[in-house]
């Protein structure tokens, strides 16, 4: 299975994401933001960072990069897409996911190990976990507060599309402690904390992030 990892100008976590894909057992394929070619990948990861310097709004410029037109088209046909941190912001700006990520409620840039609870294992990216499983992975963002209107929130909750929640004190002001959500079909997932930094205890707090990268393989086998 080939998993594309997109690099925008200002992306930081593409290498860790590619490594996580390989450790998970798939083949990572580098994609460049200006390419109008998805190189026959089966899934795509939008990694974290500060694409286009976060100018205008986080993810607002990236959303119009040539490669994103193809990602949006493929995602609408069911291709698995995972957006991590800045990638989550890009998916919201692309309207592949509802809501928006805004400035952390206390204005601080956060960088810490964060416990989250997996709340939906029916998506392409979370099937390796069990419902209620708690994992610790790094959280690092300045604009990670998930916001949406009441109607959208009720819809997300009603359809079980919150895939992960922060455990304990709300780190950034996200509504309903939301750390990650999926689209209705479950192929597109956005997650604010970073599973790709927690795939090996040598370099991360745990190896509990690896499940996101093995889940897509489960999906292919099914």
């Amino acid at each position: 299975m080939r998993v594309g990892v997109i690099t925008f100008p200002g992306t930081l976590d593409d290498r860790d994401a590619a490594r996580a894909v390989n450790v998970g057992g798939a083949e990572a394929v580098s994609l460049w933001h200006a390419d109008a070619d998805l190189k026959s990948v089966d899934a795509v990861i939008l990694p974290g960072g500060f694409s286009y310097g976060d100018y205008l709004r986080c993810g607002a410029i990236s959303r119009f990069a040539p490669v994103m037109n193809l990602v949006i088209e493929a995602a609408e046909k069911g291709m698995p897409v995972l957006g991590i941190c800045n990638g989550f912001q890009v998916l919201c700006e692309s309207h592949l996911l509802p809501g928006a990520l805004t400035r952390n409620s206390d204005l601080h840039f956060l960088c810490r190990d964060q416990e989250i609870e997996i709340t939906n294992t029916q998506t392409a990216w979370t099937s390796s976990y069990s419902v209620g499983q708690k994992i610790v992975i790094p959280l690092k963002n300045g604009e990670g507060s998930f916001q949406c209107d009441d109607k959208t929130l009720a819809q997300l909750e009603g359809e079980g599309r919150v895939i992960a929640r922060y455990v304990g004190q709300n780190p950034n002001g996200s509504r309903n402690l939301i750390a990650g959500i999926s689209n209705a079909r479950g192929n597109v997932v956005g997650l604010m904390p970073h599973p790709e930094h927690a795939i090996d205890p040598l370099t991360g707090p745990t190896a509990q992030g690896l499940g996101f990268f093995t889940s897509i393989l489960n999906d292919m086998v099914k």
Partner: protein, 81 residues
């Protein structure tokens, strides 16, 4: 020369931590007038000559698609002499 101005503000129901931080800094400096502060963005757009209705319609479209995120923000387009 006239310019087209686009003001983008967070919707009233969206939390504005930056505005709150400004609001709490004001009284520390002795400015006691504010009961609330909201912070937004202003775009100044120049075109050749005076803006035409067609150009303004284009700017409206750009404000909807790029300059603002309609999920969390409202915008106003106007011409400033």
């Amino acid at each position: 020369m006239a310019k087209i101005v686009v003001d983008v503000m967070l919707k009233p129901e969206i939390l504005d931590p930056q505005g709150n931080a400004v609001a709490s800094a004001l009284p520390r400096l002795g400015f006691t007038f504010a009961t609330s502060v909201r912070q937004g963005k202003r775009f100044e757009i120049e075109v050749v000559g005076d803006p035409t209705p067609a150009q303004l319609a284009e700017v409206e479209k750009a404000a909807e698609v790029l300059l603002s995120n309609p999920v969390i923000e409202n915008y106003v387009v106007r011409v400033e002499k």
